[in-house]
Symmetry: C2
Amino acid sequence: MEIKVVRKVLDANNTMAAQNRKLFAEKKVFVLNMMSSPGSGKTATLERTLSLLMPEVKTAVIVGDICTSNDADRLAKSGAPVIQINTGDLSGGDCHLAAHIIADAASNLDLGNLDLLIVENVGNLVCPAEFDIGENARTVVLSVTEGEDKPLKYPLMFRVCDTAIVNKIDLLPYLDYDIHAAVSNILQVHPQMPIFQLSAKTGHGFDAWLNWLKRQLLI
Amino acid sequence: MEIKVVRKVLDANNTMAAQNRKLFAEKKVFVLNMMSSPGSGKTATLERTLSLLMPEVKTAVIVGDICTSNDADRLAKSGAPVIQINTGDLSGGDCHLAAHIIADAASNLDLGNLDLLIVENVGNLVCPAEFDIGENARTVVLSVTEGEDKPLKYPLMFRVCDTAIVNKIDLLPYLDYDIHAAVSNILQVHPQMPIFQLSAKTGHGFDAWLNWLKRQLLI
């Protein structure tokens, strides 16, 4: 019975995701779903990404968190429209963003005046990978402090994503971290996935990441 | 309908958790549930914990991962019995350990010959907090690379845990991290929770952590 209901929930989500995707295509908005563990640096990566894209690329952000508006407060400084979603804290809070949540949030954005919509998902390397939100592409952010084996331990996330960011490379001198092993593990799960090694703190590696992102735009 | 089924699943889990708790009490085994984001250093913390406890404290470990036996391989070097659970990768893998999984795993351990059973849960700061597995105490591990605001953003995890470990403090000199803010945020969510600041890499801070752990034992 549980499995049936889970399937029904996922089917309903997929229907809504398809509607989102159609709307975004009509409005020529490219939608990126960013996912990662808590604390991998999604928000810091977005802060720098927005500062380098705006105002040339008209960008908005939808941020999902169980609680707080910390991330939205940080991102709003860029001047981009930012919508914070709190998934609530009644029984722990939803562990992912679903398509109907994105539809609600997007209805508050002037889509006709946007090139790019970035969704910063709830920090969780498991559940968000299972929910299509109507995005055009997915990026997983992995911090070098998380260890090299995460792609092998959480393979679905790395399979469903189109690109991977390996963040916090400024910390490499202070860690016993084999970045070649990390890259090799990502490619083992998802052969030929573009991987961007960067530091949201120093800005190292952002050129390649932004070039990729700009090439995806529908304008 | 979804909510009803979720409640039913949680009720069934609670019944099984109560059975686990009764069995562990009869066998005088103290059971600790360790939870955290992926990559916070649960396994490294356990490696050092086992090396300092064993053989004085007879300890076993149940490790939950979606895929791989990497963590069990690392922990087995301590000589402790280690059982690896893989929650599977069919639709992403289960995002938490449930009580019936722990019952199955524990049936493969010689409980009468154990003082301490540590469960290393699936790396996820959201969902495992919702599932009682029949443990006696819960510890959340937070790495200093994850940012100071995680207790506020994932409050249920910090509310349901009895202690918190702030790990990787050896990296503090290389981070813009305000450990006082992190501690204050933990205490805001869970007043008076014992917090152990430690480095699984250098061993700093392990005395206080091990003293706490030994005081919990039922022997």
